[in-house]
Assembly symmetry: C2
Homo-oligomer: 488 residues x 2
């Protein structure tokens, strides 16, 4: 495994997200796909000459007509024409809906479009989400994130409207009015994809929503489900590993309460910066579980714990830290500047994307229930405005989701890996003939959208093939309907 | 016909809309239903003790998180509990979605809910549209309409979000989470009803959209279709009437170009105020056609023209004016203060509701094609901001409407009377098994929603019965689905 250490290093990227958000009693959605960038997708592929970059002059506020709503910003998208069959034959268009990161991250980590466009003669489009990457209003990132007056426009409804305008513009420019559009997204981007099909069926024929926890709002999903899945992953991997982690918290607490205890901990864990050790460890377990595949991180972490022969429980835990992070001089370093993903997503969770995740009883973690009032007050303190925790379910639905959509809507795939803790808020059962759930028992976060590889397990290939067969079915039906429509 | 004169007087209410907007080369959607208020619906019924008035603290801007977006206003709605079977048995809820007028107008003119709630054991709810009636933000109507900074929040997406919040709140308050909601609306309110079912299927089981010109945007419907239908109505009623009107314009022009011509015209038409005579006449024909039923206004106008024995074509036209308005001392009076409907709707058409209506060749009117640039410039001059003429179709769809919705969505009735010029932009053919078009050859604007009467023609009763049968079908299916859902 020559690339393991390198690969594990990439995980550190996500740690910052998990830590910063879990300290407010919740977990953001780490950009898991990025873990594979070195392993599978060399930069030269992502930024090959096949990609053409464009900027669309986008409306700042689609839902208001105040003079300031008419302000515009340049929104970035890229197109790969290489495989496209053209508008004349209404060849399909695959659109990756960007989420809380720069477009480059999607290009590097999402392989589904590249891997399958040739087979479908599809155009490939990646659109960057407003306020991320280069698609930033108010002239600069600093200005855009200055305060809530500026950040107020960063929300999902505005983002979907952006995508609607750009998709319509592309179809118009390419004279492809009847080219069917399939929108594809990962995690938050997967939510956007499913919501886009529901809200803009005239612009997208179907959606592939990977690891989209569309039901992790209000009280639809129990707030403790997230950590329960992580616990289950560890326990199923190794009972002794699970027990060691479960017991480790009180040992840490016991050290921390003694004189010199903190300096002992600091030495044991090679921390070069004062930090909340327990939060750092928690994040390792979260990320390991969420992005377990394809490097089997939980297995590696548990192997380190189980194979370290010692009675010192903290030495076992430290072995897990080393297995996770590689062999470093320091394991807890001074904080680096907050990434744009962290900055943006913090705001999004504090405005509308209120995903209530807490730690319940009977996990391998110390209980830390989600408290909505505390959460709201934290947000008000940070931004001066309160979240609207019920808006997502008001606007997109969620309660009785299956019941409602069994007679409304069509053509959505909700894919989930059941080892991914966010699968707790996913759609895990078929809703109708054309709104399908595709799950894998051992899959992790957004795994199906990662670039395919010769090392992929059979069940992953099978999952992707099911998704492709469903999409193909949509297209076959669509072209038959189109023919009838154009005749009649 | 003791009530004819009285009834015709009500038409004057709508004239103001037609005139003011047609002078910009287009026609707003007059509040046609109101024509019947005296004829069918005494005030004592509308404001009976069965109605309970409530106010909901509504969010000013649902799609932004700027501090000012959190401002609230009191939104009015009324409930009639008299017929309701209750939340325990999930009895249905009929919700009338208000449009560009005060709630009282709906109470007075829309009879469909009152007429049918008993049969369905339905709760009746009327919700007032933001910026109309008492549901005005910024403390007062004057403040709310001060400028585009204040009016920017007056648009359809915000209105639908208002309705979503209030409907969810009512269901919650009444412990009626599984009570199916049928939304009902007239004209612009009909558009809102159909759009609400499409955007909020989790909150409305179905929609009855009466005379909703959802396809009168962009170039989906030819801009000259509106006046072509009016012309057809008149011509089918009387060829000589049609010919007289058609020839009258050049006679008026010829007078107007002569010395003392204007004063002759003023005397002939008893105008007590300088106005554009041709616009006033045009409005009479528009309103007569749009609201022809049930008083057969086109017949009466044409009878006046045809039965007036004279070679003076203008004397014939004047007879039409008298037939339309009743016997008055003056027929063109100084303008009265602009109604709230005119004020609000002018803004709505100049922001998003850009309905391109112009007069083409081969009608009984003088050609006056719709010019988008002129329209846009007029709006900019008036409000300082430009319309977004393509937004409605971006957000709600419209192009290939039938094709798109045949495989997406369900439970919408689009009802239209084909004599109504707005039917040109309506959905006139069935889209799917559950998205139905119900049309009547001789029906006028929103006729099916007017209170039923013993004088109703058979085809109108039949139209309503078809609509009721469809709604009943939705409910039967819903309750069967609900039973299965709750069992399993």
């Amino acid at each position: 495994m020559d690339s393991l250490v390198e690969w594990l290093l990439f995980l550190v990227v996500f740690l910052s997200i998990s830590i910063s958000s879990s300290s407010a009693g919740r977990i953001g959605i780490p950009r898991g796909a990025a873990v594979l960038k070195k392993q599978h997708l060399p930069l030269k592929r992502a930024f090959s000459g096949d990609l053409h970059t464009y900027f669309y002059t986008q409306t700042l506020d689609h839902f208001n007509y105040k003079p300031e709503s008419y302000a515009t910003f340049q929104q970035r998208y890229v197109i790969n024409y290489k495989y496209w069959g053209g508008g004349a034959v209404s060849a399909p268009i695959f659109v990756c809906l960007g989420a809380e990161q720069a477009l480059e991250t999607d290009l590097q980590t999402i392989g589904f479009l590249d891997d399958n466009a040739a087979h479908f003669n599809a155009l490939i489009v990646y659109i960057e989400h407003r306020y991320y990457g280069e698609s930033v209003p108010f002239g600069s990132r600093e200005e855009a994130f200055r305060n809530a007056y500026r950040m107020g426009y960063l929300n999902s409804a505005q983002a979907l409207a952006d995508y609607a305008e750009i998709i319509a513009d592309i179809k118009n420019n390419l004279q492809a009015s009847h080219s069917p559009v399939i929108v594809i997204g990962a995690s938050y981007g997967g939510m956007l994809a499913s919501w886009f099909r529901l809200k803009y069926p005239h612009l997208a024929l179907g959606a592939l929503a990977s690891s989209a926890p569309v039901l992790y709002f209000d009280n639809i999903t129990p707030s403790d489900a997230f950590y329960s899945i992580i616990t289950k992953s560890f326990r199923e991997t190794s009972e002794s590993c699970y027990q060691t982690i479960r017991r480790s918290w009180s040992v840490i607490d016991s050290y921390a309460s003694q004189p010199w205890g903190l300096s002992v901990l600091s030495s044991k864990f090679r921390t070069c910066y004062a930090s909340e050790l327990k939060k750092e460890l928690e994040s390792i377990y979260v990320v390991a579980s969420q992005f377990n595949q394809p490097a089997y991180v939980v297995n590696r972490v548990c192997a380190a714990i189980d194979e370290t022969q010692t009675d010192d429980i903290l030495f076992k835990i430290f072995a897990a830290v080393v297995a996770f992070n590689g062999n470093n001089r320091c394991y807890i370093n001074p904080p680096t500047p907050e990434s744009q993903t962290v900055t943006g997503w913090k705001w999004q969770t504090c405005s509308e994307m209120v995903i209530p995740i807490g730690v319940g009883e009977n996990t391998m973690f110390q209980p830390n229930p989600f408290d909505l009032n505390t959460f709201i007050n934290d947000c008000i303190r940070t931004y001066g405005v309160a979240p609207r925790p019920h808006w997502i379910t008001s606007y997109y639905g969620g309660n009785d989701f299956n019941f409602i959509l069994q007679k409304f809507g069509s053509n959505i795939i909700f894919s989930n890996g059941l080892r991914d803790p966010f699968s707790a808020g996913g759609v895990l059962e078929h809703i109708s003939k054309s709104i399908r759930a595709v799950t894998t028992t051992y899959g992790s976060h957004c795994l199906d959208l990662f670039p395919k590889s010769d090392n992929d397990p059979e069940w992953l290939t099978k999952q992707r093939n099911i998704e492709l067969r469903i999409i193909k079915g949509w297209l076959v039906t669509y072209y038959a309907d189109l023919k009838a429509f154009q005749k009649g």
